[in-house]
Subunit: 333 residues, 2 copies
DNA sequence: AAACAATTAGAAAGCGCTTTCTCGCATTTA
DNA sequence: TAAATGCGAGAAAGCGCTTTCTAATTGTTT
């Protein structure tokens, strides 16, 4: 690998001049510039990114924290972040948090130890205070799918309440009156908001919120099954079910089928997120789309603005929308 | 951020000594070592990884190239690589190749420019020669799911032929005699081998290979549909279908259902890869499991051996196995 | 006790770049 | 024409570490 010094020698200039040509920040005599460009080409010179980082204390790398990589939702997120950032010659260092506080902290420590210029996180377990600290420690961060008081700019969120509302209103419009709900865990803000939207839709329709029709799951496929069984055991009739994510909807669907129900005739089901498998499920899942890729791209743009002096428009709140497929049908009494 | 110099000062030793304590390569007087450790703790010192990399020309980073991130198969791959490597304090830089020669080359260039110590690739478009060149250029590489003559050690592969064989033998054992096959693209080695396995099973069973029962797809869901329609249009009866991956199987399934067939009674279908959605499909897909996570982990271990002087056992060829679910059933004439 | 070997600590060079500082030269102004 | 100004190019310091080389200290051998 040739160094900048060899380029300078071949071009017959000093290495400062080569650096200036390479970075284009200060002006260089045209003839010299051409000699340098020529030398660069001849030697097939590529600047050493490590040395450059050491000299200007910037690594052009952005740390990313996601709960897992082998899940469609986070795959979409990663894909968007990676392509947005790499288009600007930054790279991502990906770490996995596994929904676990210790692992997430380790991951952040690791990213810091790698001198990332900024962090983009989908943090599940880290506390608001921890995140505030991080940010005050002069490390720019962006938070996808999370709202932290005190970090209004860093947060890129979805209007989860509206999503929950859309799901339930869709069922109401189809004539359903008894609508069960399998929620995500109560300690997660998005789960609460989705539920709140569900309740608002009921109330707007003049119906009452019956806690007996609500089950608290943990967003897993398994809990979709358990939830459906539990709700049915409570012996209150319902003709439709909203699940707070697609995994639970998928669990509920296969459970329902195992119980001999025919879908969607016996039960209309709505999911949330519109992950890739939503249309593999049978019947194809009606769900609320979560524009995670857009949000992820936006978080990357926010970082590009904040750390690398670029100037993108950034939008902090995104809207979900309903995707009607075949798992919901008119209520026929 | 404190530097190694400040640690040395506080401990009252030279910075060489601090470095030695930190790296533990050469021996240091116990008392001094303790003073250094103490100083490190007091200052909360973290070595600057960039400076370290510059000094010893090693970045502790491994470049990874995958066709895409938002697909279950590559999600599994990434997850395994990331966790294996990070457990050893290395990090991955992920790039996306999109199945496109130019993009893949760009990605590799990018990774090289980032001074990765090694590359782990699931390369679709790069030629064997290109890969050989890379490797001869002193950059260690590992290739997942690919066999390149001349790089026997770098390749971590699946016995695709056996996988194809298992899929078809399963159907034969169920009594099927007319088995259609939707293949992957002929220019991909894995697709050819899977098909070859299918043919071997047929021949072993005393049946002949009828090209009219084979359709060449491109591994996409869409081509599963197109393939099934095309095969049916050829007007040769078949009671079972092998698809060379799960995406095409999923496409074929929804197409079959749209045609009013009932599955698996009217048609048994086998997929390949056992990606996460295989059990979301209805009927749940019988498929050939592809231990991609194991292979990915192994590729990471190979790199750990090769570049970082570790000593893991490495296995170069992996065995697929049949996962029987509900999309296949006995042939009843 | 003297001569030697074996350890261990410190000084200093070097990794490849960026950037400040300085100086020389060309251009402008009085 | 002399002084003032501006600009571009080179010298050199510095980013924070590793590692070689040298020197000093300790322990070992005869």
């Amino acid at each position: 690998m040739p160094t900048i010094y060899e380029v300078a020698e071949r071009a017959g200039v000093s290495l400062s001049t080569v650096s200036r040509v390479l970075n284009g920040k200060s002006s260089v005599n045209k003839a010299l510039k051409e000699r340098v460009d020529q030398a660069v080409k001849e030697l097939n010179y590529r600047p050493n990114s490590v040395a450059r980082s050491l000299a200007n204390s910037r690594t052009d790398s952005v740390g990313v924290l996601v709960p897992e990589l082998n899940a469609p939702f986070f795959g979409d997120l990663m894909q968007a972040v990676e392509s947005t950032l790499r288009a600007q010659d930054k790279h991502v260092i990906i770490t996995v948090g596994r929904n676990c506080l210790e692992t997430e902290k380790d991951a952040v420590d690791f990213l810091i130890s790698r001198n990332c210029d900024a962090l983009i996180m989908h943090a599940e377990a880290l506390s608001d205070d921890y995140l505030l600290d991080l940010n005050q420690n002069k490390l720019p961060i962006a938070l996808v799918n999370r709202k932290v008081e005190g970090l209004p700019n860093a947060c890129i969120t979805l209007d989860n309440e509206k999503g929950g509302y859309l799901a339930t209103r869709h069922l109401l419009e189809l004539g359903h009156k008894n609508i069960a709900y399998i929620s995500g865990p109560a300690y997660k803000a998005d789960a609460c908001l989705r539920l709140k939207g569900h309740e608002r839709a009921l109330i707007e329709a003049g119906l009452s919120v019956n806690p007996q029709l609500i089950f608290n799951g943990n967003y897993s496929e398994e809990d979709g099954k358990i939830g459906l069984l539990e709700l049915m055991a409570r012996d209150l009739p319902f003709s439709a079910l909203v699940c707070a994510n697609d995994w639970m909807a998928s669990g509920a669907i296969s459970c329902a089928r195992d119980l001999g129900m025919s879908l969607p005739q016996d039960l209309s089901i709505v999911g949330f997120d519109d992950v890739v498998f939503a249309h593999h499920v049978f019947p194809r899942l009606t769900t609320v789309s979560n524009p995670v890729a857009d949000m992820a791209e936006m978080s990357a743009k926010y970082i590009l603005n904040k750390v690398y002096g670029q100037d993108h428009n950034v939008q902090h709140c995104f809207e979900p929308s309903l995707v009607v497929r075949e798992s919901t049908i008119n209520f026929e009494s």
